[in-house]
């Protein structure tokens, strides 16, 4: 009788081991499958700076005839404590051109509330930016990313792309494409520093 018991127990252990072994392998294999599919679906934009990430710091020269330019260059980290709207644009980009007057219109009001508007142009030549700034009489800081370094660092694909960064330098929102006046204003309200 004891022998039968022993054999039975042995069999049970064996069965349990087999169950564990098979389950483990299936979990690993299906885990890999799920990983593959999820990664494939999210593979599109892996390099771009996205919502809730720290906005990478950068420093760029301001174009010559822009607003009350005292300093010839601007560093993002100097604006800490302020909300920052960071707009990537170019003169040849029509939607960018359309939203520029809205930014100019809202700029004085939000500057008072501690929000800075910074527009980074990816144009190749400074001349075209100068003419553009003159034409629209833009007063907020216009920076020239002539070597596309910042463009590369932020992983910008479509123009315009606009980042709304809070006073701690964290991206609150990222907007791909054109903004209407209303939407622009609602985004700006979100990044007004809490203290003021």
């Amino acid at each position: 009788m004891e022998k039968v018991e022993q054999a039975k127990r042995k069999k049970r252990v064996k069965k349990r081991n087999r169950f564990i072994f098979r389950s483990a392998i299936l979990v690993v294999l299906f885990g890999a499958l799920v990983f593959a599919i999820v990664s494939n679906l999210t593979a599109e934009e892996e390099t771009a700076v996205d919502k809730n990430e720290q906005a990478p710091d950068f420093q760029l020269d301001r174009v010559a005839n822009n607003g009350d330019a005292v300093e010839s260059s601007l560093q993002l980290s100097d604006l800490e404590g302020k909300g920052v709207m960071l707009n990537f644009w170019a003169t040849y980009c029509e939607p960018c051109e359309r939203e520029m007057p809205y930014m100019e219109e809202l700029y004085p009001k939000y500057k008072e509330q501690g929000v800075e508007i910074v527009a980074v142009s990816v144009d190749a030549t400074e001349l075209v930016i100068d003419k553009f700034v003159d034409h629209y009489n833009l007063s907020f800081p216009i920076l020239h990313d002539k070597d596309s370094q910042v463009l590369d660092a932020y992983g910008i694909v479509p123009l315009p792309t606009t980042y709304f960064i809070d006073e701690n330098g964290v991206v609150v929102d990222r907007v791909l494409g054109e903004l209407s006046l209303e939407r622009l204003e609602s985004y700006l309200q979100e990044i007004v520093p809490k203290g003021t």
Partner: protein
């Protein structure tokens, strides 16, 4: 009871076993006359045993060769569907795929697009299909490889006479002497058979390793598939692109602004300009347009050693220089730069002269050159003339009657110039572009294009693929496994020494013709006759 007890030796075999593990007696109630199925050496395939839990059921589903073959067949058909029309990556970049498929291929194209077949190989279901094949390969290999390994490792030398009798190649000998047997064994040894003996019974075996071929190649495939998964880990895989103009230094994307590339020169050659191309004359006449022969970028790679804040002027240190040629990428630090495409003759400078409208000689009053990469807004001359570049459109186009640029690149430059001079009242404006010279009114002076400079643009792909070693390893192991399994075979010859006679049976996992021929050589110098092919007997 899930144990099968051998009626001859009493060994307890696992359920599903068809040949006793110990003595080799067939366990199927001796259906004389039918040949034994030797596929897994009669051992119980794990999944063929009873299954109760859901895990067992899933396991058994994937361990079936039938399921594996079905999955491969589905993948085959799906892959073929994807070639009916070009995939999305092969249609022009600047068109809307939805419209493209409809316009090019009609209603069928539209259906093709809507079913997502335009991007079939990246679709989630195609990936699932391939992954399921991978899972099937993995489970099948464990399920069959392990029992087969055990069966062959522990195989008995002495086999039951019925085992031999039911082999495809079998012979029974009564009229022989011991010299014949010795000679036969020597012949076996000469053919590199490994001989094991037990009480006069003999097992001669060679090429067992070829039985592992399928499992080795499956392992290779698994490694390969795992390698492709690693691609999704960001730092393992980079796929980017950069245009660099001659003389220009650009940041190499996907390097965190660490590396920069300067295009020193882009060289482009076509066929037909050389004496050695004479043999291609006929072929060149039959093709429209020039055929590119060679193109390369002479490049210098720099590293930014300052590592200051992004956007500040980099402090560049040269790390490498050389040519980037098609098929010969330039490599730095695991990153490879491939010559991909080019744009020839993009404008770089344009020279103009000012002359009087009425002057037929067009004698220059002033001459100046506009650097299109960094144009100045004013050109001032000693003789009192001043020319202002009021508007510059790198790639000019008319948009609702308004000129504007559609890109950054001087592919079709347009200019608005204001001319000021001692004898000009206020200013004279004119618009210039390729083939256009439009004065603003009754101009006294005219600007004319005198010369231009061009440069080429080189398109480079930036690639890093740390998965390559894994993928390569997988492919290598696969090849080893396939060759091992396909070019060798596992041959076994059993001799059963009965009291008054001797049985010889042969088995090979494939290439029976070769085994038959080898056996002919083996009985050379003995009195043994050829073994009988028992399958043939059944045929006729």
């Amino acid at each position: 009871m899930n144990i099968m007890k051998c009626s001859t030796c009493g060994h307890q075999n696992k359920e599903g076993t068809t040949i006793c593990e110990k003595c080799g007696k067939p366990l199927d109630n001796d259906q004389q006359g039918t040949l034994l199925n030797m596929r897994y050496d009669g051992s119980a395939i794990r999944s063929k045993t009873k299954n109760r839990s859901i895990v067992d059921k899933i396991w058994n589903f994937f361990s079936s060769v039938k399921i594996g073959v079905t999955l491969i067949t589905i993948a085959l058909v799906a892959s073929a569907l994807g070639t009916i029309y070009p995939q999305e990556m092969y249609i022009p970049q600047n068109v809307d795929p939805a419209l493209h498929y409809r316009d090019q291929y009609g209603i069928l194209g539209q259906i093709y697009y809507q079913l997502g077949f335009h991007n079939l190989y990246n679709s989630w279901w195609y990936m699932v299909l391939i992954a399921l094949i991978g899972i099937s390969i993995f489970i099948v290999s464990i399920d069959r490889g392990v029992p087969l390994y055990k069966a062959l490792k522990n195989q008995a030398i002495k086999r039951h006479p019925n085992f031999l009798k039911r082999q495809k190649l079998f012979g029974e000998y009564t009229d022989y002497n011991t010299d014949d047997k010795t000679q036969f064994i020597n012949n076996l040894k000469k053919h590199r058979y490994k001989i094991s003996e037990e009480d006069g019974h003999i097992l001669a075996e060679k090429g067992r390793f070829s039985r592992w071929g399928p499992y080795v190649n499956h392992l290779g495939l698994i490694i390969f598939l795992v390698g492709t998964l690693f691609r999704f880990i960001p730092f393992m895989y980079v796929d980017d692109f950069v245009w660099v103009r001659e003389g220009e230094t650009a940041v190499i994307p996907s390097t965190n602004q660490q590396y920069y590339i300067k295009n020193e020169e882009f060289i482009f050659e076509t066929y037909g300009n050389d004496d050695e191309d004479a043999i291609f004359e006929e072929a060149l006449q039959n093709t429209s347009g020039p055929v590119p022969k060679h193109f390369e970028t002479n490049a210098v790679i720099y590293e930014d050693v300052s590592r200051d804040v992004i956007g500040s002027d980099p402090e560049l240190k040269e790390v490498k220089s050389g040519e980037i040629i098609v098929n010969e990428p330039l490599k730095i630090n695991g990153l490879a730069l491939y010559q991909d495409s080019y744009q020839l003759n993009e404008f770089q400078t344009m020279s103009f002269k000012l002359h009087e409208v009425d002057d037929e000689e067009e004698e220059a009053i002033v001459e100046f050159t506009v650097d299109l990469t960094d144009p100045e807004s004013e050109y001032v001359f000693d003789n009192g003339y001043r020319i202002e570049l009021n508007r510059y459109y790198p790639e000019y186009e008319l948009n609702n009657g308004e000129p504007r640029s559609v890109s950054n690149y001087p592919r079709n430059p347009g200019f608005v110039f204001f001319v000021y001079g001692p004898d000009i009242e206020e200013r004279e404006a004119s618009f210039l572009a390729i083939g256009q010279n439009i004065p603003s009114g009754d101009n006294q002076y005219k600007l004319s294009l005198t010369d231009f400079g061009v440069r080429d643009v080189s398109g480079l792909k930036i690639r890093k693929d740390l998965t390559l070693p894994i993928i390569g390893l997988g492919a290598f192991i696969f090849m080893v496994g396939v060759i091992q399994g396909m070019y060798w075979q596992h041959r076994r010859i059993w001799i059963h020494q009965a009291a008054d006679s001797m049985y010889i049976a042969c088995h090979t996992n494939k290439n029976w013709y070769g085994l038959t021929r080898e056996f002919e050589k083996m009985i050379d110098g003995t009195s043994f006759t050829m073994v009988r092919d028992q399958e043939k007997k059944n045929d006729s």
